[in-house]
Every structure is written in structure tokens, then in C-alpha cells.
Symmetry: C2
Subunit: 461 residues, 2 copies
């Protein structure tokens, strides 16, 4: 992506073109639930959920079907918020083949050895909006993008440190193979591959949705184990935490219009055209009214962490670029998240104002070194879509995990049982440990990944 | 500042105008050392420093002269790196007057009460480059900017929470005076005032330097006590840390081309014109050579935290936007810091490429709640320019502080003695606790601010 591309794509000189009406050239993305839920009862068709949340079924893989690392999974569909469950999940083994550098004359890559070189594991949650299509495409696609991106750099992961040149050979005698000063590590290549994979997947979704005349977007939260490390990549408002006996550690942070206020305001500052004169980029404590004109009111602009006062002008009365607080915060009055995949066609209702330039598909990646961690018997990673975290805090989830696991050591399916129990805790039922009134009507999907005896000792070759 | 202003200022349509030759309309900013060093010996003129670092004098205020909170100060001039000491310091009492809203009809501010309303204290270090002028102007000016910015919002600091409207009155009956959901605190107003003050000071420096035909820039590190809190605002590579008996806490982080790589690369991505075809915004492990053409080498772009490989094109052989590692890292081959004041005229040698669009004057602000901290006898804040931190780690400074203070309880001048001792520790003398070879030839300036019995109980009214 270049600056020119950005300008051509989002800053047309003349009046903005109307959004293209969908001209389906391909069949729509079929709705489905994750493959690993097969046989677990309840149809994969539209929700038949009742409005009474406690009547909604919690689904998890059938007993006997095991997920990577014996991870647990459970999900519940929303209370008719939409017809389909807009959450999607995927997991599996990630087989990275090693490609070796071919004949030098033609500078081409030849797959001299297509054997599996590295093995990783992959768990992913996608929370869709504007329809389930983007989340389904992401669940179908992101792991392939990731495999491809990792294979493109796997040669650089052979040595203890990535070499300056991918061929691993010095191109002139005085040149060291590694550039010590920068301290570039193998994990930096994996982080780079995750970043590239999210972007590639975003492009695929854009093409596929346009071809099938569909719309929508989704968040993406990925955990991937590779060479003794667990990578957590997040774009959106899902969350992963590490729960240990005496530690609760966030492994991701949420990207919403509020948490990314400065980045979003700055883009509107640089390209005011993106707001088409309909929005103000400034933040005020509430939407301003005619009465506020000429008054000095609290405000924040893109470069400010603190607040100041400004005299209200007429342009300040426009609808704010970011409006509302907490769960109600919206970007351009439209979207509750500021990173994710898809949404290429999304515009503000009844306008030509596009959301996409304000959205990032690039994830933030955190790395957990499993060798250093020395995971104990009941150490787990809990990954869940926002429906869980709206109702339960990290500490509440940790208490539930620590309470559940010791009493269920013998059950091979206990991590799915734990995931189901976490979801039931959001449904306001009698045995729920949370306060009355805190009930999630959203889709909720949960992975529980046990860390003990996993991922250490570099499962490569 | 608007986007239009930025484009007009930095993106001229035609060929770039040559830098205007200085046409002095005012006399040059006179060189001086801080007022509070008067009488402490050594002339205030050019450095007569010897090349042997241990022969250079360490200066601190004369015994009997006390700084706010009985803080200590010491400085040493560089070993002929430049003729003048480019560091500057300032400290003092900050008296904030309360202005009350005047007659409503003309909507003007009248100072009904010019009595002091709030009292704070202020300590600041400025590390100049390209001449001492910007640092001297900052030392002369920033506290006035800060007072002015605080007085502009002081009415909002009267209540426990800043009101939506500065007059403190609801403008329509249904409107609550405070906007509870946003949780805006008094300290957010102070942070906003610090941010505005740095920007105002930057503009003053730009005007003054242009008028006097001088050039240069400086970093700025400010500590300010107000209403029971200590605010630390930093733009540049100076550093402040809190040292307690069993805690070392950084109160600032450094802003250099390396720490702000993504912001700087992103600006070059948005406005490639800023690089005038002379630089590449991409980061490589080292500067590329002709031999690298066509090879796949490690690189990072603005949206990447991790690294990936790319095939080298001709444009990648240009000089990198950010080059070098650690202390050698330079922005556009020119500047070692990415935030600060001044540098309005600074261009890359022999080009018209301006540094200013890549520099931020806005500081990052951290807040220390003195009431919650309950400072003990030997708790201090150590503020110093980069000359100290190049040679001593936070932990080494903390060890020196903890070793020095208990044995010197009776000396009223002990915090200046401590500051002098810290500076001597960077000079490679015999009694230095640091390894041989780690010697600072830079200017070094140090404040040591004791926290015990200070700043609590809100010294207002």
C-alpha cells in the first residue's frame, strides 16, 4: 500500500462516487459453524434462540473430539441480535514447509524440499458485524495466509538469528551475515508474518465480498504456538489472558474508537476530506448543542492526552468522529471497533463517507516465551469475544478458572467444560457467580488453551 | 495548527524555496547560565574546559541559596563539544492567579481578582543542539507559557471535577454541569495545559530565533508540583526517575528516532514529498549497497512491529529516514531526538529537506500522586539530561542515591551534593563506581528533588 494508493482510493478529486451496488459474480459465502463442532447437536442454520438467555444452548465439541493441545471451546448464539451467530472460530495444526533457494542464475524460489519443517498450532476467534460473511471468510482463510507468510520467511528462521539476506549467504565478503546491533530475533520474523497475514487476509476478504455482493467485517484474535513461543495477535475488541495460580496477565489489548482516539483524530486532521464536512474530529464531553455556541467547553484534539477548553464554533456542533462512551462508543456513528478485517464497502448511513480509511487490519502481537514461563498444571490462556468480557472482568474469569480446574482433573474434556461454564456465567442463571443484571445478550465464543507440557522443547523438524 | 497549514508550510507545490538567510531584526539571545548559579564561581562565558574530563568543574548553587523544595542541582560543561554549555535549567515558584468571568454581555474575561490562587513549583532541564539559543529561550519562557495556560483553565480546577463549561454554570437547565461518563479529572486539565504550554513555547522560540537570525533546538523535561501532584512532562531524551528505598520508577520515556520510528515512517508514508526523493522511509538492518540489489533483505515499514524480507529495489539504496543504532541513531542523518522545541529552520545539510515536520513539541506527561505515594525521608526524583543516562543506568543512579543520602542527613545542601556526586560518577575518576571507559563528554545537568513533606495537603489558596 502506498500513499498514492491511499489518496486515489479514499480522496477522489471530484464528488465521491456512490457506493457500487453489489454485482454478485460469485455465490454468497455459505453460513456454517466451525467444523470441530460437528455432531455436537443443534443445527448449523439460523438461530432458534429464545429471548430468555438462559434457554439458549451453549455448544462445544462432542466428547472424544480433541482440539490442538486438548484446548476447550464453547459458544453461545446471541439473543436474536441477528439471525446468525456472527462469531466464528478456527483451530488446527500449522505445517510450515521449508523452501530452499533454487538455482542462482534465474533467482527463483524452488521448493527443493516440501517436507514439513516447522509445526505450530493455531486458535482463532472472529467476531463479525454487518453479517457473518467476513468472519466466515476469515475463519476459512487466515490460517492459510499465515502459513504462506511464514513459509516466505522460514529460511530466515533456521539460524538462531535471522540473517540480513534471506539466502543466508553474505553477498560481499566484508559484510557480516547477521547485523548484531539491531538485535533482530526469530520472533520478530513471526510477528512480521502475523502482521502480513492479517493484511493479506483483509485483502482476500475485500475481494471475496465484492465478488459475492456481500458486506461486513470482523475482529480477529489469534493465538499461535511456534518454536516454544505462544504468539497472540489481536485486531479488534476480543481479548486473551493468561491465568496462572497467582497471576492474571493480559495478552492483548482492545482496539476501539476510544482506545485509538488519537490515531483516528490524527487521520481526520491530515485528511479532513474523509469527513466530508459532516463530522467534527474534536472530542467533547457530550455532543454539543446550539446553546453551547460561543461558550468555552472541554475538548481534546489529536495531539492531546489531557483536556482543555475551547470557544465553541458552529463547526463544533457537527456529529463527532468518535461518539459515546465505553460499549456505546462509535466511530463515525457506525462502528464499535477500530481494527479488524473486511468492511471495505462500509459507509456512514445515507452518506458516501467511508469507514475503511480509519480502520487498521494490522494486529498488535504479544509473545509468551513458554520455556521461560514453565507452565504449571492449571495454567491456561483464555481467549474470548467481547460478549464474555462485557460481563466478566479478567479477575472474575481467573477466579472461575481456578475454582473449576482442580476439581475436574480426571475429565479429558474439562477445558471445554470450563469454556461452557464461563459462558453460562454470562447468562444470569442462578448458579452464576456474577451480580444480577450483568447478562450478555451478545454472541460469546471462548477457547481455553492449557499450557502445561505444551509448546516447550521446540516441536520443529 | 490545521492540516491546510501543515500542507502550506511543508508541502510547497513548486520547487522548494531556499532557506531564508537570517535577517536579524533583533539582537541575539545572550548566553547565560541559570540565575540560581550566581556566585557559584566559574565564569558564565564560553567553556574553558580541558579535554581531560576530570579537570572540568562541576557547578551547583552556592551554599545558602535554596531552590524550591530544597532541591539540589549540579551541572558540568561538555569537553569542548561546543563552545557553550548547551544545557539550560530553570526552577521557581509558579503563581497561578484566578480570573473570574466578567460581565456576561461582552463575554470578556476580566481579572476580578488578581490574587494568587494556586501555587506550584517548577523545575526544568533543556538540552540544546545547534547552538545554545533555543535552550536559553526555553528556560526564559516555558514557565510563563505554563502559567498562562494554567490560568486560562484555572476556573475549571475549582470544583473537584472540571465542569463542561468554563463558566461553571449550566447553560440550559436540563444539562448537567459535569459529564460524569467521561471521568475527566482536574489532572487532565493540567496535562492539557502542559501540552499547550510546550506548543506555545515552541512557537515563541520559532519567532524569536527568526527575529534574531539564530538557529537551534532543545529538548525539554519539566517537573511541576500542583495540588498534591507532581507532573513530569518530557519532549526529548532527558529522563526523570523516582528513587525510593525499594523502588525505582521511570517518570518519563525518551523520544528518539528509534523510539518514534513508526510515527516518523508513517508521516513519510503519508507525505513522501517531505523526503524529496533523497531518503527511503524503510528501515533496513544496515544501509544497503549496490550489491544488495535484487536480494531479499530484512526490512520494516511504518505499520510493522516485526520484521520481514523484501526484494531490494533501487529506491531502497537511498539514505534511510532513520539511520544508526542507539546513541548514533539519527533522523534524516541530522538529529538524535524526535521531540523538543525549536529547530524551525533546520534542514538536512545541502538540501531543502526540513526536519520540523517530523518533530513533535508536545510532551508526554506522567502524574505522581503525592498523597498516595506517602513519600519517605529519602525519596527523591532525579531529573537529568542524556549525558548522565548515557553512562549510568536507572539502577546505578538509585544505588548511588541510596548510598549517599543516609550518611548526609545533617547537610542542608545535601541534594546538590548528591547531584554533584552523580555528575562526578560520569567522569571516570578514581572514586567513580562505574566501569572504566564509561565516561560522559557531554553536557550533564541534574536536579535532585526531595519529596518528603512536600506537595501534600494541596498548597492552594
Amino acid at each position: 500500500m502506498s500513499a498514492d494508493w491511499f489518496r486515489r482510493r479514499f480522496l477522489p478529486r471530484g464528488p465521491l462516487p456512490a457506493p457500487r451496488p453489489p454485482r454478485p459474480r460469485a455465490s454468497p459465502v455459505p453460513y456454517r459453524r466451525p467444523r470441530f463442532l460437528r455432531g455436537s447437536g443443534s443445527s448449523s442454520g439460523p438461530a432458534d434462540a429464545s429471548r430468555r438467555p438462559d434457554a439458549r444452548p451453549v455448544r462445544s465439541p462432542v466428547r472424544g473430539r480433541s482440539l490442538p493441545w486438548n484446548a476447550g471451546y464453547a459458544e453461545i448464539i446471541n439473543a436474536e441480535k441477528s439471525e446468525f451467530n456472527e462469531d466464528q472460530a478456527a483451530c488446527g495444526k500449522l505445517c510450515i514447509r521449508r523452501c530452499e533457494f533454487g538455482v542462482e542464475e534465474d533467482q527463483e524460489w524452488l521448493t527443493l524440499c516440501s517436507e514439513e519443517f516447522l509445526t505450530g498450532h493455531y486458535w482463532a476467534l472472529f467476531d463479525g458485524h454487518g453479517g457473518p460473511a467476513a468472519a466466515i471468510l476469515a475463519a476459512n482463510t487466515l490460517h492459510s495466509c499465515l502459513r504462506r507468510q511464514l513459509e516466505a520467511v522460514v529460511e530466515g528462521m533456521v539460524a538462531t538469528q535471522p540473517p540480513m539476506h534471506l539466502s543466508g549467504r553474505c553477498i560481499c565478503p566484508s559484510d557480516p551475515q547477521f547485523v548484531e546491533e539491531k538485535g533482530i530475533r526469530t520472533e520478530d520474523l513471526v510477528i512480521g508474518a502475523l502482521e502480513s497475514a492479517f493484511q493479506e487476509c483483509d485483502e482476500v476478504i475485500g475481494r471475496e465480498l465484492e465478488a459475492s455482493g456481500q458486506v461486513g467485517g470482523c475482529t480477529a484474535l489469534v493465538a499461535m504456538s511456534l518454536k516454544g513461543k505462544l504468539y497472540v495477535a489481536n485486531a479488534g475488541d476480543s481479548r486473551a489472558i493468561l491465568v496462572r495460580r497467582d497471576e492474571v496477565r493480559p495478552l492483548s489489548s482492545e482496539f476501539t474508537p476510544e482506545t485509538e482516539r488519537q490515531r483516528i483524530q490524527q487521520l481526520a486532521f491530515i485528511y479532513p476530506e474523509l469527513l466530508a464536512g459532516e463530522f467534527t474530529r474534536l472530542e467533547f464531553p457530550r455532543r454539543l448543542k446550539g446553546d453551547d455556541l460561543g461558550q468555552k467547553v472541554l475538548f481534546r484534539d489529536h495531539h492531546m492526552s489531557g483536556w482543555s477548553y475551547k470557544c465553541v464554533e458552529k463547526s463544533d456542533l457537527k456529529y463527532p468522529l468518535i461518539h459515546g462512551q465505553g460499549r456505546q462508543a462509535r466511530l463515525l456513528g457506525t462502528l464499535a471497533v477500530s481494527r479488524g478485517l473486511g468492511d471495505h464497502q462500509l459507509r456512514v448511513l445515507d452518506t458516501n463517507i467511508q469507514l475503511k480509511p480509519f480502520l487498521l487490519s494490522v494486529p498488535q502481537v504479544t509473545v509468551l516465551n513458554m520455556d521461560q514461563l514453565e507452565p504449571q498444571e492449571e495454567d491456561v490462556v483464555v481467549m474470548a469475544t467481547d460478549g464474555l468480557w462485557d460481563v466478566l472482568s479478567n479477575e472474575q474469569v481467573a477466579r472461575l478458572v481456578r475454582h473449576f480446574l482442580p476439581g475436574n482433573r480426571e475429565d479429558p474434556h474439562r477445558f471445554s467444560e470450563l469454556a461452557k461454564m464461563l459462558i453460562r456465567s454470562t447468562q444470569g442463571t442462578d448458579d452464576s457467580p456474577i451480580q444480577e443484571g450483568q447478562v450478555s445478550y451478545d454472541d460469546v465464543s471462548v477457547f481455553v488453551i492449557p499450557l502445561h507440557h505444551q509448546g516447550q522443547g521446540h516441536s520443529s523438524h
